[in-house]
Subunit: 177 residues, 2 copies
DNA sequence: GCACGATACCTCGTAAGCGAGGTATAGCGT
DNA sequence: ACGCTATACCTCGCTTACGAGGTATCGTGC
């Protein structure tokens, strides 16, 4: 998820670590902050894998900067990660939102639609958080107000997302034809 | 999050690892599956910390079971984790939902309300996923349909949750008076 | 002249999660 | 007799993440 965000931001423009950190904080920081000690090693991993290169520049304001530029391989890797996300990227909202934030980079509308359809299939599966044996329980069946909250909120999210998915898929299909 | 779920389920009744695993899978598995190689070490951690005890029972169906029972210290630890959750438990929906699933165990309505109010404060902070400098962008200002989706979905979730939070807080305050 | 905050990057030890793989038992179909 | 599936638990090595702490530069206010 972090690596995807790094690749996604760098695809737009070369950045140095500090600015990248602020971009990532803006994107997911209110929900899941990223520590510096997580970001810098992640950058090194991606550099070692040949997905980005670092160029040292004298710091405009303070210490020298390491400007990060995506390599061609890095661009290809981003496309792979966007087009063929792991199942976790589809099911976990945190991951999914990060993927959506950069899905526009995947130029092909059909490929974008294919990813959305995987999310659609996931949301259409009957699933709950609470079960009576194998039968999913609805909010109305629960006494516990907190568990009822979970289902109420999840249902509202699911509805909004299904509507958006169907809308967006329709317009992507329109472009494709 | 995983440890909270273990403590939460065991607070209801002693369970052995395999059943616990299915409970956890039902609760969060569709979004974020938990591997066996994560669960069993987690159980051992909690045992080592004195939060639960294991008793070997001949397996009813197959191999011998390790029935897990919460200790008093384990019960107290659960209450602590429910009453004073880390900020991540409040902001990250995955964590938050897990917390909500067991918040009923916290018997005091005032303590429950205090936790809900922390979530309320978080949701009331103006925050976006996308910014123009420091200014949060609204869905309407975005060209990118996927980023627009993120904001549309997040807004629907936020609305539903705010309504539920205010309702539930009102009825908790009613009980407290 | 100097403390302070912001910029900019880094290392280290520890914790947590995961996939791959292993061990066993019991029951069922063929 | 044999394989298959479900139950039930475990270890190992690898990767990722995090907090604590460190280093250095520059501009601003006092």
């Amino acid at each position: 998820m972090l690596e995807l965000a790094i690749l996604g931001f760098l695809y737009d423009a070369p950045l140095h670590g500090y600015v990248l950190r602020r971009h990532i904080a803006a994107l997911t920081g209110h929900v899941r902050p990223v520590a510096e000690s997580t970001l810098y090693p992640a950058i090194k991993r991606l550099e070692k894998a040949g997905l980005l290169v670092r160029a040292t520049e004298p710091g405009a304001v303070a210490a020298p900067r390491h400007v990060l530029t995506l390599t061609e391989e890095g661009g290809r890797e981003l496309m792979r990660r966007l087009a063929e996300p792991a199942q976790r990227e589809i099911t976990d909202e945190n991951h999914w939102f990060t993927l959506l934030a950069f899905l526009r980079h995947l130029a092909d509308p059909a490929a974008q639609a294919a990813v959305l359809r995987r999310r659609l299939a996931f949301l259409e599966e009957p699933a709950s958080f609470f079960y009576d044996g194998d039968r999913p329980l609805s909010a109305e069946e629960l006494d516990d107000p907190f568990r009822r909250g979970v289902l109420t909120i999840a249902r509202a999210t699911s509805r909004a997302e299904l509507a958006w998915l169907r809308d967006t898929l329709a317009s992507l299909d329109g472009v494709g034809r």
